[in-house]
Structure formats: C-alpha cells, structure tokens
C-alpha cells in the first residue's frame, strides 16, 4: 500500500484532517485520564478490609450518660447474645466502614518529635479481634490480662497489634515487635502484627494510608460502650440483624438506637463507597458519549470525502483497482489521521495529567494507559470509517465514463 498518494491527497484537505486529528488528540487525552481516574476509584472500592465482612454486623446505642454504661451494656449484650444465630457479641469502639471513634496522630518517640502519621485506634473488649477475623502474621493475639479499664480516648498503656502497612511505614525493614508508639502521654507496645485492617473511612485517605490501624485491648466501661460487634453465619446475618435490633429495643428502651449506623458490614461498605461509585459511573458515561461523538464525527467526514471523490474512485476502479484496494485505501487514510491525532494526544494526555497532579493532587498517569488509549482509538477509527469505505468500494467503474 503506497502511503505517498494518501498523504498527497490529505495535503489537499489540510484543514479537515487537522480538525479530525485534534479531535482524536483531545479524545485520547480525556480518555486516558478518565480511565485512570475510574481505575483508581475502582481499586479503592475493592480495598481488602482484612475482616470477615460477610459475617459481621454492628449495633450502635447512644443518648445515655457514661455513668449508666455498665448497666446498659450488660442488658444489651445479654439481649443480643440471646438472639438465635449470634455467635459472639463484643465491644469495639470503631467499626470498619462504620463509626470512627479513634482517629489520632502518633509519634514514634516519647518526646513527640517524630510524627508517625494519623492512624485509627480500634479499641475493643475481649474477643473483638477474634470476632473481626483479622489475620495475625507475627507476634501474639491479645491475652486475657491485656484488657484493662481506662478513661478518656484511649488506655494510657497497652500492648497492641499493628497492621503490616503501618509497621512498614513507621519502621521500614525492621521487626516491629517490641517497638513503641506514643500519643500525648499514652504509650503502646507492639506485640503482634496483623496482615491488614482497613480504617473506618478509606475514601478520605491516600492509598498507602488506608490500612494504618492498630488494635488496642481494653475493658468495656464508660469510654467503651454502646458499640457492639455481632458475628453470625453469613446466611443468618440479615435475620440476625433484624432480631438483634428488636431485642435491643425491648431490653434497653431508655436509650436511643442509632439506626443509621447499625447495619451489617457489607451494607456499611456499600454506603461508604456510594460517592465513588457515582463518580465512576459518571466518568464511564462521559467516556462512552465522548467516543460516540468522535466516531460520529469520523463517519460524517468520511462520508463527505467519499461523496466528493466519487469520480476519482471510479477512475481508479476503471484502471483496475479492486474493491479491496479502495477499502484498504480509506482504512489506511483513516489510520494515518488517527495516528497523527494519537501522537498529539499522548502529549496532551501527559500535560493534562500534570495539571491535574498539581491542582487536584491526583497520582501520575502510568505509562500503560497510553498504548491502551491508542489501541481503543485506532479500533474506533477503523470501525467508524468502515461504513463510508464500503460505500466507496461499491462505486462502479462506469462512473469514470460519465461527466457528471
């Protein structure tokens, strides 16, 4: 296939060629960045929580004084344990994808000079870490004598289990067991390492900080009350949830059940990522519309060129070109224009990505998005020009003999 005649023909229609190339370039740039944003959101939505979500639910009580905590907890836990199907009822202050009660900044030295980051403290009563189902990869789980009563936000001193991600950040390459972290006057010693445990609110944090959490054992009391973690069989869980809420309403009528935050963990997870699902849906819609408009533009312009060059096509056919030759001619022409547009588009995509990085703190576009964008647009261009090209190929040679 000779490229020279095609280029010579395109030189006669410089303006239209340039316009289509620009359109492809803009479409490529928007496509690459939008796909990258969708991929980031989707990967965030699929974050590994580290807990057995399908088997867990939470009931949240509120509206009572701390002095009544022991009484309320005793009645509520007894009522919840009596619900058939419930395997365990434990107290946990923060719930993955749910209530957030233990977010604080820590330091790795007693003087408070080395800031370690803002992490989530999961303060839980006996049995709560086991109920979560978080996997322990080093060290030990909480033991019976680790659980002490406390006042304020956190216990003043406790042995903790830390996630691997946080350990890697605080002490890269070193064994975290035995290391300590400080929060004001409270200090904690690492005795176990968890594979991962997601924070209650992953969308608000950068990717690497989404699993910065520690588990602090403590005894339920006025400062660890009203937030219950229920574990049951995944099949029983919906019924157990309904029965649990009814049981608590009957057993402790003088407190308020926070129905908005009392759900199964799967429901809480869906609510947490609602926004991101909506954004991903919007981006997909825009991409589809964008590709549609680009394709329609190519179809329109190609049809016009075919109509304009009818005589020329007829002459070529009369001189011996087959239908396949004509078809290939138009497809190659389209391929050249789209390639030109893609080259411009790559540059534009990276420029736009740099702008997004500086103004909106988005991550850098990985390189493999560009070949993917190129392939999609090449395919789109070829499909779009197929219709007009087939019509061109159907031009009979006799057109060459007519003067009109």
């Amino acid at each position: 296939m000779q490229i020279q005649p095609i280029l010579a023909a395109l030189r006669k229609h410089r303006l239209a060629t340039l316009l289509i190339a620009l359109e492809i370039a803009l479409a490529c740039a928007v496509l690459c960045n939008a796909c990258f944003m969708i991929a980031s959101r989707l990967s965030m939505m699929h974050v590994d929580s580290g807990v057995d979500e399908g088997a867990l639910a939470t009931v949240q009580l509120t509206g009572y004084e701390p002095a009544k905590a022991a009484d309320v907890d005793a009645r509520a836990v007894a009522a919840l344990r009596a619900v058939p199907g419930v395997q365990s009822v434990t107290l946990l202050n923060s719930i993955p994808f749910g209530m957030r009660r233990g977010t604080a900044g820590i330091t790795t030295d007693a003087a408070g000079q080395h800031f370690g980051g803002v992490i989530e403290f999961y303060v839980g009563g006996a049995g709560s870490l086991r109920a979560l189902g978080a996997q322990l990869i080093a060290g030990r789980a909480p033991q019976a004598d680790d659980f002490h009563p406390f006042t304020g936000l956190l216990p003043g001193d406790a042995p903790i289990q830390i996630t691997q991600a946080l350990a890697e950040h605080l002490w890269p390459g070193a064994n975290p067991l035995g290391k300590q972290i400080w929060l004001d006057k409270s200090h904690f010693r690492v005795v176990g390492v968890l594979k991962t445990l997601v924070r209650p609110d992953p969308p608000g944090w950068p990717t690497e900080q989404r699993a910065w959490a520690v588990f602090v054992p403590a005894q339920p009391g006025p400062f660890l009350t009203g937030s219950y973690l229920l574990r049951a069989n995944p099949q029983d869980l919906p019924r157990v949830m309904r029965d649990a809420l009814a049981a608590v309403t009957k057993a402790v009528p003088d407190v308020v059940i926070d129905r908005e935050d009392s759900h199964t963990l799967i429901e809480l997870r869906q609510k947490t990522f609602q926004n991101d699902r909506a954004m991903a849906g919007l981006l997909i819609g825009v991409i589809v519309a964008l590709l549609g408009v680009t394709a329609l533009g190519i179809v329109g312009l190609a049809s016009f060129w075919v109509a304009q060059r009818r005589k020329q096509i007829g002459v070529r056919r009369a001189l011996g070109a087959t239908r396949g030759d004509i078809l290939r001619y138009f497809q190659t022409e389209n391929f050249l224009i789209v390639s030109f547009g893609i080259v411009l588009g790559m540059v534009l995509a990276y420029t736009i990505n740099l702008l997004l990085m500086t103004h909106y703190e988005l991550p850098r576009l990985p390189f493999f998005y560009l070949p993917i964008g190129a392939l999609v647009l090449w395919g789109l261009g070829q499909l779009a020009v197929l219709g007009p090209a087939l019509r061109a190929a159907a031009v009979p040679p006799v057109v060459a003999t007519r003067t009109v």
Binding site: E23, M279, G297
Partner: protein
C-alpha cells in the same frame, strides 16, 4: 434578508438530515454535560442571601500563640472565636446589628408516644440573629436580650420540626424536651435555608440541611457535650488542653456575624478589631500583631473558604473538555456541509452577493443548529441534574436550574455553534465562483 437566510438554512437542514442530526446530537451532548456541571458550580457559589449579603461581615481575630503549629488534622483555631472575644465584640455594639453563633445538635424527646427520640441540627445564637439575617417568623418572635444574658431555656423551632412534634405550626408557648431539659417555644420560623449555609462553622458541611432549632448561645455553656445533652457540631479547637470549660479563652468554637451599612462603618469596624487586638496584646493575652485581625464580607468569606470540592471542579473540566471535542466535531462537519454546496454559493455570488452575505448566511445556519442543539442539550442537562440529585453528596439536592441557567444553556449552545461555524463559513465564502460555475 434574515428571513430569507433562515429559510435557506431550514431547507439545507432538511436536505441532509443525517448530517444535521449528527451535528445537533454532538452539540446537544456537549452542551448538556457542560451545563449540568456549570449549574452545580453555580448553585454552590451563589449568593445565599440576595439583598442582604452586601451588608453582612464576619470578623476574624488571631489569638494564637506565636509558636502555634497546625496539627496533622489541619484545624486552625483562629477560624472561630473564643467565648471571651465573642462576648467582647457582642457587647461593644459597634455594628448596626451583631450575633454570635455556633452549630449544634440535640436529642429531641417528643411527647407523642408514636415518635422515637431523634437528633436534630440547629444553631445556638444570640437574639439579633433573626433580625440581622431576615429570618421570617410564622408565629411568635425571637427571644430578648434579657433571655440571652440569663441563659433562659427558650427555643425557636423551624416549621417542619414544629409540625413534626405538635402536628401544627402553632407551637408558641408549648414546651419541648431537648437533651436533659425542657425548653419553652417562643417562636416558629418558616423553613429558612440559605444556600450555602454560610454562617456555619467552616469545618462543618456548608450544604447540610437547614437548621431546625435555635437556642440562646449561653445555654450551651452548662452542657458537658455528652450524647444526651446539647452538643456542638463544629470544630472546638484551641492551643491548650480543653477541660470542658467553654468559657476558656484559649478554646475557639464560636462564629460571629455583624451588619454594617456604609463603607465608613466597615472601616470603623476594622479599626475597632485592630484596636481590640492591640488591647488584648497589651494585656498579655494575644501574642501576634494586632493587624492580623480581619473583616470578611459574606461573599469574600465564601470565596476564602473555597467551597467548591475538587470533585466538582474536575467534573466541570471534564464536561468542558467534552464540549471542546464536540465543537471540533461540529467544525469538521460544518466544513464538509458548506463546501459541498460550493455550486449553490457560486450561483449566489454570480448574482451579486458579496462574500459578507455568504458569510452571514452560513453564520445563521450555524446558529440555527445551535438552537436545535441547545434545546436538546437542555433536555440532556435536566436528565443529568436529576441523576445528580439522586447522589449522596450534601450539595446534591441543590442541583436544579434557575431561569438564568436555562437561558444560559441556549445562549451557550448558540455561541458554541456560531464559533464552530466561523471557520467553515469563512472558507466557504472564499470559494472562487467562476471555478464552481463551470462544473455545474
């Protein structure tokens, strides 16, 4: 000539229906997407109190210690006022009207047996709040200055809450249990909800639902902020340990708004703030320069707070990029369409039309396509805004078009297509007539 060109344009649109549909579709989609996002942007940056916002100002003082560093969470205590500062500004009476306020939520214990207790959002404020912001009352009135001083247990309810509790908006004189205490209802306001809720704490959501109750600010001083008491929904931050005493001079949680009518009053108030800061510095309480004290106008404050979330801005740029692609599309298609009619143009030129006339003819044709595309875009934008209203974002329920945006849609569509048609029209009017006439 305008009617003639219009007829020509309509005829040519009918002659090539496929091309016309393609162009109208492209413009419609581009305009629809852009207008959806521009409408959202418009409602988020709109004037919440048209007619009054020009006279409302918010003072900000800088009581922070010299060596204060914002912590990892990024809260800046100087965004709010501490109790002693707020009371000093209030009692100085330097503005025409002034009010101190803080956002709050409280547990309502309804007397009706069929209602469970529930939390509502509202504001603790001083009595001038209602007159200053022009809050309309359905019944009763605000409380008095004496109530403010004494910390009386009175409350003003919004109409929706009054109806929910008592079945009717006629609630003045009744009592309602909020938290641990009983409060007497002195007034019921209409469902007043300025968008955005500009007087809320900067860290609270500006687009949250309207306030359902108003209590005297002094009432919250006695609360320990427990679950079953009056709570503050906003930042309580400071630079020394907070021990629960809301009168603490180093803990800020109060917002302050003042009404100033003339520029001279605005300047006088700015001087007053600087003088007050200098006085506090000489007393040893403030450490930073007195000139750090600022006075923001309402719209200036909204701009300073940079209300529009990044997500919304990104979506707007995406929509505008889409419009750009659609416009490039239109340019190419219009070029094809106009150049195809070279013969017709040549006949017109031969009969005496100037290049200018041909240009205007094609300009009108582009504008007609713009009108059609604009109407389609309006429909698509309404669908887009409906889908945004279903979203869980707190600004979502505001997304709807007001008349100015509706007109703006069609105007944008016409402008975009006329712009897109400029290049093709210019190329078309330069076609040499003699060449084309020969091949006719």
């Amino acid at each position: 000539m305008f009617g003639y060109y219009l007829e020509l344009a309509l005829r040519s649109m009918r002659r090539s229906p496929a091309l016309t549909v393609l162009m109208v579709l492209a413009i419609g989609l581009g305009i629809g997407a852009s207008m959806t996002m521009l409408t959202v942007l418009h409602v988020m940056t709109d004037d919440p109190l048209p007619g009054r916002s020009a006279h409302l100002y918010t003072p900000h003082l800088d009581p922070l210690p010299l060596n204060f560093k914002t912590d990892a969470m990024g809260t800046n205590p100087s965004q709010n006022l501490a109790w002693p500062d707020a009371m000093a500004l209030l009692h100085a009476h330097h503005g025409v009207q002034q009010a101190a306020m803080a956002g709050g939520s409280v547990l309502v214990w309804p007397q009706r047996a069929d209602l469970q207790p529930f939390y509502v959002d509202g504001h603790y404020t001083t009595h001038a709040f209602f007159a200053m912001f022009g809050v309309p009352f359905v019944e009763g009135s605000a409380w008095t200055d004496a109530d403010d001083e004494a910390g009386a247990h009175v409350v003003v309810l919004a109409e929706a809450l009054a109806r929910k509790l008592f079945g009717t908006a006629d609630a003045a004189g009744k009592t309602v249990r909020l938290g641990k205490l009983d409060y007497r209802v002195v007034g019921v306001t209409t469902d007043w909800a300025p968008k955005p809720l500009f007087y809320a704490d900067a860290s609270a959501k500006f687009y949250s639902d309207a306030d359902q109750f108003f209590l005297p600010l002094a009432d919250v001083l006695g609360s320990k902020l427990g679950d079953d008491e009056l709570q503050i929904s906003g930042n309580i931050s400071g630079w020394s340990n907070f021990d629960g005493n809301l009168r603490d001079p180093s803990t800020t949680w109060i917002q302050f708004w003042v009404k100033l009518d003339t520029p001279a009053q605005v300047r006088a108030y700015q001087r007053f703030l600087v003088d007050y800061s200098a006085e506090q510095k000489s007393l040893g309480r403030y450490q930073r320069p007195p000139t750090n004290a600022k006075l923001y106008s309402l719209m200036g404050w909204l701009r300073h707070e940079n209300l529009v979330p990044d997500d919304v801005k990104l979506q707007m740029w995406l929509a505008l990029g889409f419009l750009g692609v659609a416009m490039l599309n239109i340019v190419a298609l219009l070029l094809a369409k106009f150049l195809r009619r070279s013969g017709e143009i040549s006949v017109r030129r031969a009969m005496g039309a100037r290049k200018r006339d041909v240009f205007v003819q094609f300009g009108i044709e582009s504008a007609l396509i713009g009108v059609a595309g604009g109407l389609l875009g309006l429909g698509i934008a309404q669908v887009g805004l409906w889908s945004i209203r279903q979203r869980p974002d707190d600004y979502a329920h505001l997304a709807s078009m007001d008349p100015s945006m509706l007109a703006g849609t069609v105007l944008l569509a016409i402008a975009a297509s006329v712009l897109a048609g400029l290049l093709p029209a210019w190329r078309a009017c330069r076609v040499p007539p003699a060449l084309q006439l020969k091949t006719l």
